[in-house]
Structure formats: C-alpha cells, structure tokens
C-alpha cells in the first residue's frame, strides 16, 4: 500500500507523455490528455502555487491528533494539481496564488492506532530560501 507509493510520496515522481508531452501526477500509465500510453518517468520540481486552501477541524480517524490542520490543492509549475496538507505556515496567511514548495513530512496514521504514514506536504516559499 503505502510502501508501493514511496516514489510518489517522497519525491513527486510522475510521468511525462511521450506523445503530447503532458506531465502526469500521480502516474497512471494512460495519458489523461491524449489517451495514449504514457510510462516515461518524470520527476516534478516540487514548486507550485496554491489553487485553493482550507482548514480541517473535524478530522478523520488517524488524523485527529493533528487537527486543526491546513490543506490545499496546489498547481504544480509543470501543470498538474495535487491535494496536500500545508505546513510551516508560521505567521503566513495562505492565499490562492501563494508560491509553495514540496517537503516530506508525517501525514498521519493509518486509522486511529495504525502505522505512521509519511508523504509530501507543501510550505510557503520564503524570499530567503
């Protein structure tokens, strides 16, 4: 399950379609744009902008400890959208359009007493970084 996805969870590894150059994340082997076979590995930069955001207060089992936590849909600079928690917000007020970058963090647990799951989150890009 989670171990099968470590390339995607820790490194944003997706695919690029050799027919139409569409960048695909997560990888799905059939290009959603042109419908052809697409299995060439492509590693995304991890940079993007906030497409939408909100805060989860009523958390599902396995995430209750972390509530409330911010989540977003991020537009990666190569095109695809991904859903992820936001992190390291500090004083930052997240807005649609805020530039963000991918980091690897603990996402939660698999059910209320399950094993810990790690994966990508996104944090605001600060001028100094």
């Amino acid at each position: 399950m989670h171990w099968r996805l470590k390339q995607q969870r820790y490194a944003l590894v997706g695919e690029v379609c050799p027919h139409c150059t569409y960048r695909i994340f997560p990888p799905r082997d059939i290009c959603p744009d042109c419908g052809e076979d697409a299995r060439d590995i492509y590693k995304f930069s991890g940079r993007g902008k906030v497409y939408s955001h909100t805060t989860v207060h009523q958390a599902p089992a396995g995430h209750s400890e972390n509530a409330p936590y911010p989540v977003a849909i991020v537009r990666l600079e190569e095109g695809p959208l991904v859903t992820a928690q936001l992190t390291d917000l500090g004083e930052e007020q997240v807005e649609i359009g805020t530039p963000v970058e991918m980091v690897t963090r603990k996402l939660g647990a698999d059910g209320d007493r399950g094993m810990l799951v790690y994966g990508y989150k996104f944090r605001p890009v600060l001028a100094e970084r």
């Binding site: 909100t54 089992a61 859903t83």
Partner: protein, 390 residues
C-alpha cells in the same frame, strides 16, 4: 422510454424521516421503508431488490445487504444486491432497476436506500466517508468530503468574484421548504443574518453550507406499466430519462474542478432520452450535501452558465414558486442527508410532487421533474427525469 405500454413507472414510495434513530437498527429501519413502499404500491411483490448503501461495511460491520434485507423483508429467493457509488448509490440503483425492467426480465423491482451513521464516533464516520475519495492521493492527506467541498467553494468564490454569502440561498430555500414538511429533520426557517454569523466548519464553509448526515431509509417500487392493474389512486409517474456518468475521482484530477462533468453528461443524456431541455424541467431535486454542489449542479445541468449558479440562489429562482424549484421538501440540508439513500429520497419526493401529494410543499401543476445525486464530490452523477403520464 416514452408512451409505450412497457414504460417504467413508479408504483409506490416510502420514506422514513431522516434523523438520529438511536432506537432502530439498520435492518429494522430498512424494513419500515420497504413495507411503506409496498403498501403504497397496493401490495406489489418485486422480483428484484436493489440496495443503495455506502457506509454499512465500515460503520455497521455489515456488507451483503441484499441477502440480509431480502430475507428480513420476507422476500426469500428474490435476486438482491447492493449498489455502491458513494452518495450517488441511490440514483445508480434506480438506473440498474430501470434497465432490468425495460429489458422485460422482471415486472417489478424494489429499490431501497439505507444508511445508518449514528452508531459510530465522528472521526470514524469521516474516515469512512473519505473512502469515497481517492484513498492514495486525497484521503491519505486527511482530506474529508467537507474539506473537498470547502476547497471547491473557496476556489468558486475566488474565480467568480462572488460575495461570501452568495451560496446562502441554497440553505435559506431548503430550510424554508422544510417548515411545512413534517418529516424534515430541521423545520425552522433561517434568516440571512444567521448565515452571515454561522460558525465556520472549514473555511469558507459554515454550518449552513453543510447538510446534516443522519440515519435514513427510503424505498421505491418500480414496475412496467403494462403489468399494473388499471385505475390506480394516483397519477402514473414514468421514468423518461435515466443516466449515470463518471468523471475523475480525485478533485485534483479534473481538468476544471469547478465543472462537474459527470453531472453535465448525465443531465444531457437523461434529457436526450426524455426529449426535453432545461426549460421543460419544473423542479430539480439536486444534491445539496454542501451548498457549493447546489451551484455547480445548476450550472452542470444547464440552468445557469459556469459561475452563475449562485445567482439563481440569490434572486429566488430556486424557491417553490420560482423558475427552477430545488429541495422542495427541504433537500439534504433541511430534510436531512441520508448518505447513499439520497437518490431514493429525491425520486420519492419528486414522485409525490408529480402525483399532487406534496401538500403545502406542492410545486403548482408539476408534471416534469428531474433528480440528481452525486458521489464523491461529483465523481459519479446519476440523473433521472420523471413525467406524469396522465
């Protein structure tokens, strides 16, 4: 599926009030709805049972509802199974029944929508609901259906530069209609000021943007018109359009998350079968689990342009006396949200409207109604069009 002798018609309906039925088990709640529908049909015995449910395995430790409930309802031997498409299960189950009836293989079918959510704690319910989203790329991040609706609403208000209270009308209309529905879960009208001051659930969603998920059971008996005895008590209501469609499951996998392509496609398909267009629809029981889906559904079905659905809510077009009444008995927002049973409630309520049995909630002279339920933030949509035959 038009004026043929083998038209598929609604022969009976039964609905339990949606609510917290602490005292009643899943199977007993189901039986009450099934019995009510059979009585309403004049005692028809179905050859098939379709059960619409999504949460029983996770929250009640019970799968295999077809066999359980067919036996419990005294329908031994009847072919029975569960249809699951998240919140769209009800409509999809009716689609399957309609196909079986139209094929001539069976004469009557019972479609039951059943959901029991009150036996488990909120975090378990949220986790169970999240299995209707993309488990590997959405649920794993701790995203819930509420969070997905919030993300869509946030983007909607931003892209269309709509005011923060632009979706209030969905909730106001639903609650207004529920005042005269004795079976509704919430029966008090709400005022715009209450919407403006409502506590935030998941910004920008507030408590009035979220329908209350609770226990529910509703059933329909569908039959081929040629097999029914003449001279029924009520006008015959025919299913003239029935279509299910799917889109990308994950919200982020959709080319434009603010367009519900499954809803658009199934609406178009159902209208084509019925040879009707949006102007012909006199009431629309849409999926209002969250107010944002009210706006997006109106747009997908062609009642408003992309980004303009909220205006129909603001200007009163969606009220009982408006151009396109929705949530005529209170919708999921005020009648209550019965999860996978939603589609069955919608069809039962639309049937009552067309049979002139809606009492104080009657849409005047209603002859053509549309219903649509959504699954997984719109990944599945099942649309039906009903027409009064005479």
């Amino acid at each position: 599926m038009t004026d043929k002798p083998d038209a598929v018609v609604v022969a009976g309906v039964g609905m339990m009030p949606v609510g917290e039925h602490w005292e009643v088990s899943l199977r007993h709640l189901a039986l009450e709805a099934m019995s009510a529908a059979q009585t309403d049909s004049g005692g028809l015995r179905p050859q098939a049972l379709y059960v619409a449910n999504m949460l029983a395995p996770a929250l009640s430790g019970q799968s295999h509802l077809g066999a359980l409930l067919a036996d419990f309802a005294g329908m031994q031997g009847v072919e029975a199974s569960t249809i699951e498409a998240s919140g769209a299960s009800g409509g999809v189950a009716v689609r399957h029944a309609t196909l079986a009836l139209a094929s001539g293989a069976i004469e009557a079918a019972l479609i039951l929508g059943i959901e029991k959510v009150t036996d488990k704690a909120s975090s378990e319910v949220q986790a169970a609901l999240a299995t209707g989203s993309d488990s590997e790329y959405e649920a794993v991040q701790g995203v819930t259906p509420s969070a997905q609706a919030a993300l869509l609403m946030q983007r909607y208000l931003y892209e269309h530069e709509a005011p923060s209270d632009s979706l209030a009308g969905f909730s106001l209309t639903a609650h207004q209609n529920a005042v005269t529905n004795p079976n509704a879960m919430f029966r008090r009208a709400i005022k715009p000021e209450q919407y403006a001051k409502a506590p935030v659930v998941s910004e920008p969603l507030n408590t009035f943007d979220v329908a209350p998920l609770a226990d529910g059971a509703a059933a329909l008996i569908l039959a081929r018109a040629s097999t029914l005895p003449n001279g029924s008590d009520h006008p015959q209501v025919e299913i003239v359009g029935s279509a299910t469609s799917t889109s990308a499951l994950a919200v982020h996998d959709r080319p434009d998350p603010l367009i519900l392509t499954a809803a658009a496609h199934s609406s178009r398909e159902a209208m084509m079968q019925a040879e009707l267009s949006p102007e012909d629809i006199q009431l629309f029981e849409l999926h209002d689990s969250f107010s944002i889906f009210g706006a997006l559904s109106l747009e997908a079905a062609g009642f408003a342009e992309r980004g303009a659905g909220w205006k129909l809510a603001q200007n009163g077009d969606i009220s009982l006396t408006g151009k396109i009444p929705i949530s005529t008995f209170g919708g999921s927002k005020a009648r209550g949200d019965p999860g996978a049973a939603t589609g069955i409630y919608q069809l039962a309520e639309a049937t009552l409207q067309l049979q002139n049995r809606a009492n104080e909630n009657q849409v005047p002279d209603a002859a053509i109604a549309m219903t649509q339920c959504l699954g997984g933030s719109g990944a599945t949509a099942s649309t039906h069009i009903l027409r009064r035959r005479y």
